[in-house]
Amino acid sequence: MRTFLRDALLKGKATVAAPAPDGVALEEVARALAERARRRLGRSLSIREVDAGSCNGCELEIHALNNPVYDVERFGLKFVASPRHADVLMVTGPVTWNMREALLRTYDATPAPKWVVAVGDCAVDCGVFAGSPAIVGRLADILPVDLHVGGCPPPPIEMVKGLLALMEAPVLPR
C-alpha cells in the first residue's frame, strides 16, 4: 500500500488533458438544447447509463471514463445509480425487444429536462445487428436522441468530446 501511495505522489497525475468538444456534436447538441431549459442544469450533468442490448464493448469504454486517466468527474460529469437522479440517459446497444420496456420505464423515471445520448454504432444505427428480428431498431426510433456518439465502441476520448459538447453548447436564442 505504501508503494501505491508513494508512486501516486511521485509519478504525477495519470489524467490526460481535456480534449476540445467535438464540433459536429456541438452543433447537434446546440440544436437540441436550444429548445429546452439549459440554464437549470448549470455546468454539471448526472448520467444514468442504460444497456439496451449492447455487446458490453461500449460499457467497457464507458467504464474507462471513470478511471484516473479520463476522470470525467473533473468536468462535472457524474454517473449516478438511479434515473431519478439523472439529467442524461446514456444508452448503448441496438434496442432489443426484451429491453424495450425497461428502457422506456427508465426514460419515464428520469425527470425533465433530460437528454438522451446514443453511444456506439449499435445505438446509432443498429451496427452489425441491423436486420435482426430480435431488435426493435435504432435508439432514435424509440426515444428522442439529442446526441450521437458513433464508433464500435467509441474510444473514451470521443465520448468525453461529445459530453463536453453537451455541457458547453451555446444556448441558441429561441
Partner: protein, 494 residues
C-alpha cells in the same frame, strides 16, 4: 434410468476430423446414454444446440483427449431431453426451444428462457413463474434488469431471510440480439464481425474460435506469424479483463486504491492494444485465414514495455491484497462453489480452476500456438471469491510469460492465408477466453456462406453456479460474488 454410455466406448475406433472432433449421428438410445454419461461424470457436456432438423451435442473427455459431436435427427423438433438426465443442459434446451421450437421430451422445466413474450408475432406470455421459496420471515428482493451500475441488464430475484440469501434465481435474455439468425446465410466475413460482437470483452476469443472453425471446415491454412499474433492478442485481452475485474472486486470491498491502480493498468493494456493493433479491444483483428493487423517492430517494443509494467503492478497488487485483512475478510469463504458442482457443470475458466477443476483449453486441448508454450494449469481449491481473484492474478503472471515467449518466436512473414476454393464444410473450435472456454460450431453451405453457426459462452455453465455460490451469504456480499464471476450477459443471451 438410462445407463451411462461412455464417450470412449461410443467412439470406438472412429477418427476425428481436422478440428479434433469426431462427428457421428446417433439414435435416441445412444443420445440418452451419452447424456447419462455426462451426469455420471464420465465426460463433460460442452454444448447443445439445434441445427435444422438435428439436435447436436458436443462432448469433451479431457483426460483421454477426446472430443465429439453427436447429432440426433429430431421428429418434428421432438427429441429426448438431455436436461432430464443432466441439469446443466436445462437452460440450453429451454433456449433452443425458444429459438427453434425444438421439444425436449421429458424436460420438467418448460418455462421459456430467452423468449420474454416480447418478440413480434410470438404473442404474449403469462408472467414468468419464479421458483417458489416459502417460509416464515422470508422476503423477496427483485433487482434489475436495469442495475445501479454500468453493467449489462439481467434480473435477479433474491429470497432472503433477514440479511441471508436463501435463494437467488436469475432471469436472463434481456440482451438477446438474434445472432444465430443473423449469421445464417451471411458471408463468412460478415459472420466473423457478428461473432466478434457476441461478447465485447471476449471479442478476440470469439473471433478466433469462429476463424478456427471456418479454417478447419475449409482446410484454410494460417501463416505461423498470424497464429502467434492471435496468441498475443488473446493474452492482452485476458490480462486487461482480469486486471479490471480484480480492481472491481476490491472496489466492492471499498478498497479504492487497488481499484484505481488496476484501472490505470487496464487502460495501459487497452492503449497499447490500440497502438499495436489499431483497436482498443482488438475487434475484427482476428479474421478467418489469419489476422487483419500486423505487429510492427516498434509495436513489439511497446508490448514488451507493457509486460514489464504489468508484471510489476501484478506483484504489487498481490502484496497489497495479501496485507489487508479487512479486504480478505470480505473475500475469504465468501461465495463458495464446491468442486462437485464445478465438475457437474464443467465450469470453465477461473470459476472452475478456483474450485479445483484443472481445465484450460490452452492446455487441455491445446491449439497452436499454445501447443508450444509450456503452460501449467494452476488451480486453487477454496472455490471462494478469494480463490477466483488469486487465480486471475496467477493467470496474469502466466500470460506475461506466454506473450514473452510468443514474441520471441515471431519471424517475418505473411499474416493471412489465401482462402481455398472449397466452399462446403463443417468445423468446430474451442478457445480459452478470459472467462473460460468459448465453443463455436459452423456449417458452411455450397455457396460458401454460413448455413448455420452456434456459439456457446462459458457463462452458460457459470451463471447457475453463481446462484449456488450466493446461497447462505449476506445480500451485501452479492456484488463481490458477482464480480468474482463476471459472467457475460450478451454472450449468454446471444
Amino acid at each position: 434410468m438410462t445407463a451411462p454410455l461412455l464417450l470412449s466406448v461410443w467412439l470406438g475406433g472412429r477418427s476425428a476430423g481436422p478440428d479434433g472432433y469426431v462427428r457421428a449421428a446417433v439414435d435416441a438410445a445412444a443420445w440418452e446414454g451419452l447424456a447419462a454419461g455426462c451426469a455420471a461424470g464420465s465426460h463433460d457436456l460442452s454444448a447443445l444446440w439445434a441445427d435444422g432438423d438435428r439436435m447436436c451435442m458436443a462432448l469433451n473427455d479431457a483426460d483421454r483427449g477426446l472430443r465429439a459431436i453427436a447429432a440426433l435427427a429430431t421428429e418434428q423438433g421432438a427429441y429426448p431431453s438431455v436436461g432430464r438426465h443432466h441439469a446443466p443442459a436445462v437452460r440450453l434446451e429451454r433456449a433452443m426451444r425458444d429459438l427453434y421450437g425444438t421439444r425436449p421430451l421429458g424436460l420438467a422445466d418448460m418455462r421459456p428462457w430467452l423468449d420474454h413474450g416480447r418478440w413480434p408475432g410470438r404473442g404474449d406470455r403469462p408472467a414468468y413463474a419464479f421458483l417458489p421459496a416459502e417460509g416464515e420471515g422470508l422476503h423477496q428482493i427483485p433487482v434489475g434488469p436495469v442495475h445501479a451500475g454500468i453493467i449489462e441488464p439481467g434480473h435477479f430475484r433474491f429470497t432472503a431471510n433477514g440479511e441471508t440469501v436463501v435463494r437467488l434465481e436469475e432471469r436472463l435474455g434481456y440482451v438477446h440480439k438474434g445472432v444465430e439468425s443473423l449469421m445464417a446465410g451471411a458471408p463468412v466475413e460478415t459472420a466473423a464481425r457478428i461473432v466478434g460482437r457476441i461478447s465485447g470483452d471476449s471479442t478476440v476469443a470469439y473471433a478466433w474460435a469462429f476463424a478456427r472453425a471456418v479454417e478447419m471446415a475449409l482446410g484454410w491454412s494460417v501463416p505461423p506469424r498470424a497464429i502467434l499474433l492471435r496468441g498475443v492478442m488473446a493474452e492482452l485481452e485476458r490480462m486487461a479483463h482480469h486486471i479490471g475485474d480484480v480492481g472491481a472486486i476490491c472496489n466492492d470491498a471499498s478498497v479504492l486504491a487497488i481499484h484505481a491502480q488496476c484501472a490505470v493498468q487496464r487502460e495501459d493494456v487497452l492503449a497499447t492494444s490500440a497502438a499495436c493493433f489499431g483497436h482498443r479491444l482488438m475487434m475484427d483483428r482476428v479474421v478467418p485465414g489469419g489476422v487483419a493487423a500486423d505487429l510492427s517492430a516498434e509495436g513489439i517494443g511497446q508490448v514488451r514495455g507493457l509486460l514489464r509494467r504489468l508484471a510489476e503492478t501484478r506483484a504489487e497488487i498481490l502484496r497489497v491484497y495479501e496485507s489487508m485483512p479487512s479486504l480478505q475478510d470480505r473475500t475469504v469463504t465468501t461465495g463458495i462453489v464446491s468442486a462437485e458442482l464445478v465438475r457437474q457443470y464443467a465450469a470453465g475458466g477461473f470459476v472452475g480452476r478456483a474450485s479445483g477443476r484443472a481445465f484450460d483449453v490452452r492446455g487441455s486441448f491445446a491449439y497452436a500456438p499454445y501447443d508450444d508454450v509450456a503452460l501449467a494449469i494452476r488451480t486453487r481449491t477454496a472455490g471462494d471469491v478469494d480463490a477466483r481473484l488469486l487465480v486471475r492474478l496467477d493467470e496474469i503472471e502466466d500470460s506475461v510469460a506466454i506473450v514473452e515467449r510468443l514474441l520471441s518466436r515471431l519471424a517475418p512473414g505473411p499474416v493471412r492465408g489465401e482462402r481455398p476454393p472449397v466452399a462446403e464444410g463443417e468445423g468446430a473450435a474451442l478457445v480459452e477466453a478470459f472467462r473460460g472456454d468459448v465453443f463455436v460450431a459452423v456449417r458452411l453451405g455450397v455457396d460458401g456462406r454460413v448455413a448455420h453457426a452456434h456459439a456457446r459462452d462459458a457463462s452458460w455453465f457459470q451463471w447457475p453456479l453463481l446462484e449456488a455460490a450466493v446461497e447462505g451469504n449476506i445480500v451485501a456480499d452479492f456484488p463481490l460474488c458477482n464480480k468474482s464471476f463476471n459472467c457475460s450477459y450478451s454472450g449468454h443471451d446471444l
